[in-house]
């Protein structure tokens, strides 16, 4: 499965690149990632939540990189869901902003994990990646993921409808955190 998405962020390319290159920042805007742990200069360990309590983990390596312009990576070893991706940072015509172009390729396997992953991505997997980039834009432009009373988890296609009512969270909901 090939996913592409793009957004424009009103920050210089060097800054957007640096934020992404610190791979441990990725879970702050990629909703399905639980953790990315840097294990070497170009290697990392990724953990993602999948549905039905399934966890998906893999190792990844950066295979190509041009500072301020491009990062390409792929999963290594015996990944549950082999994947590879490229992100390009392109100065926008306004002279201020950066276009972020992402391509991610998933090799969705058969069996239970494959089914779970396919279902997880749902009918509109592009929307999921699109959401990730919207959150990246929010984090870099405003400092955090924007939350509303109806969507206290922030931008998330799978939870866009139905939502909780647009009224403040109770203390119990607030304790449960973003997924209340």
């Amino acid at each position: 499965m090939d996913l592409t998405a793009t957004t424009t962020i009103r920050r210089p390319a060097s800054e957007v690149y640096a934020f992404w290159r610190d791979l441990e920042n990725l879970p702050t805007f990629m909703a399905h990632l639980e953790q990315v742990r840097t294990t070497g200069d170009r290697t990392s360990h990724w953990a993602a939540a999948a549905p039905f309590g399934t966890d998906v983990e893999w190792d990844a390596e950066i295979i190509e990189e041009t500072p301020g312009e491009k990062i390409a990576w792929r999963s290594t070893g015996d990944a549950d869901v082999p994947n590879a991706g490229t992100v390009r940072f392109v100065p926008a015509p306004d002279g201020v902003s950066t276009e972020v172009h992402v391509v991610i390729v998933y090799d969705i396997p058969g069996g239970a994990v494959g089914k779970a992953v396919a279902k997880y991505f749902g009918e509109e997997p592009h929307q999921q990646l699109d959401d990730d980039l919207r959150r990246l834009k929010q984090v870099l432009e405003t400092g955090e993921v924007v939350r509303s009373d109806g969507a206290p988890w922030g931008k998330r296609a799978r939870k866009e409808f139905p939502q909780r009512p647009a009224q403040p969270l109770s203390d119990a909901e607030l304790e449960k955190g973003a997924d209340a």
Binding site: V146, S148, D149, A151
Partner: protein, 391 residues
């Protein structure tokens, strides 16, 4: 706290709900001292704007006192104890739209951007109490409200102006003003305004302030037309006269130089068969609008004139007079108001006495009487023009 909520089509209900809390670092919590019912609330309550849910707190015109600020709000911007008017669009102040002062198109404040994108092509800003399409933010017809990006939007009121003098800076006064500003008014201009509701009244006052030679008010409610006439505008009752011939008569056959649609998607009247067609299509949701006022504004405007649209539209309309628009060199301008852009300059105009926002208030009720306020306003009972609620 107590809050006025949407509880189904044509039903509002004041309920007990949890108090708001800080969710983002740049939030503030405001204790509301005055809030209002807006004409666009009626589109929500009527069910014309989709994505409402049972329990959604309504209200996007409100002001009050800051009682808590998040760690990301700098003290020089806002402090506990400040008295503020809160603009209805929630804007981050950092994206390209905000940098261009297009605050109602903010790219970051709608957590439900995916829905808005499907409906509008690109998402729009989050709005308080205005459906999940615009973010699912709790509104301000309540005792307290959470205000995101509190360092960007709220306007501090540091003089002793009353709530009634400044409350409408949250929406309808800037909206009416933007409607007039988009007309690029010249001193010889005759400006016609469709709709003498609160926004229409402020569009008329603004057109006058910006130098229009003559301002015409078009409506069917005698009390609204009288209100406009008392403010010095020329009333035209579309129930009693033919609008087009009256406008031609008032302008020496030219048509108004600038036309403002302050009505939006629930317009009445029009030629009988087109109006019936719109109503039926809207009822079965194959058209979301009844664009009668917009059509009439385009057909009436003088060649080369400007049609400025501040009435709310939600989706798709048909029978749009594209031929008149194109062949007669009309300019069509529109937008949800970029309130943050206008608050300070309009506050100064209020302080100088150039605009009197209080002239449209006909009813002041307790928050618990919100349902009665909605009924008065919706059904135009008791000469109701504008309802202010006191939590």
């Amino acid at each position: 706290m107590r809050a006025n909520t949407w509880s189904g089509r044509n039903k509002v209900e004041v309920r007990d709900v949890p108090d708001p809390k800080i969710l983002n670092n740049r939030d503030a919590i405001v204790r509301i001292t005055s809030t209002a019912i807006c004409g666009s609330d009626l589109h929500l309550v009527d069910g014309y704007v989709p994505t409402m849910q049972d329990g959604d707190i309504l209200g996007h015109e409100f002001m009050g006192e800051v009682i808590e600020v998040g760690s990301g709000v700098p003290g020089e911007k806002l402090r506990v104890g400040d008295r503020v008017v809160v603009p209805f669009p929630i804007a981050c102040g950092a994206c390209a739209a905000c940098a261009a002062e297009l605050y109602s198109c903010c790219e970051n404040t709608n957590p439900n951007a995916g829905i808005a994108e499907k409906m509008f092509g690109h998402p729009v800003a989050g709005i308080f109490g205005y459906s999940h399409l615009t973010g699912g933010f709790a509104g301000g017809q309540a005792q307290y409200a959470r205000v995101p990006f509190a360092d960007v939007g709220p306007l501090k009121i540091e003089s002793d102006l009353t709530d009634e003098q400044v409350l409408f800076l949250s929406d309808i006064l800037p909206t009416g003003y933007m409607g007039a500003e988009m007309c690029d008014i010249q001193s010889s201009d005759v400006v016609a305004v469709w709709g003498a509701g609160p926004v229409g009244q402020f569009a008329m006052d603004s057109a006058r302030v910006l130098g229009a030679a003559k301002v015409i008010a078009i409506d069917k409610e005698p009390y609204r037309l009288q209100m406009a006439e008392r403010a010095g505008h020329i009333p035209v009752n579309f129930d009693e006269v033919d609008v087009r011939s009256t406008l031609l008569e008032l302008t020496g056959g030219r048509g108004p130089d600038k036309c403002i649609d302050a009505v939006g998607l629930e317009a009445d009247h029009g030629s009988a068969h087109i109006a019936a067609y719109d109503r039926v299509k809207q009822a079965v949701r194959s058209e979301t609008e009844r664009p009668h006022a917009l059509r009439q504004a385009i057909m009436s405007c003088r060649s080369g004139g400007v049609v400025s649209v501040i009435g709310v539209y939600g989706g798709l309309l048909d029978k749009f007079p594209a031929g008149a628009w194109m062949n007669r060199s009309l300019t069509l301008r529109t937008g949800q108001c970029h309130v943050q852009r206008y608050m300070k300059p309009l506050l100064e105009r209020i302080e100088r006495g150039e605009i009197d926002p209080t002239r449209i208030i006909t009813h002041t009720l307790a928050l618990d009487e919100a349902e009665q306020g909605f009924n008065l306003f919706k059904n135009k009972q008791d000469n109701c023009e504008k309802v202010v609620l006191k939590p």
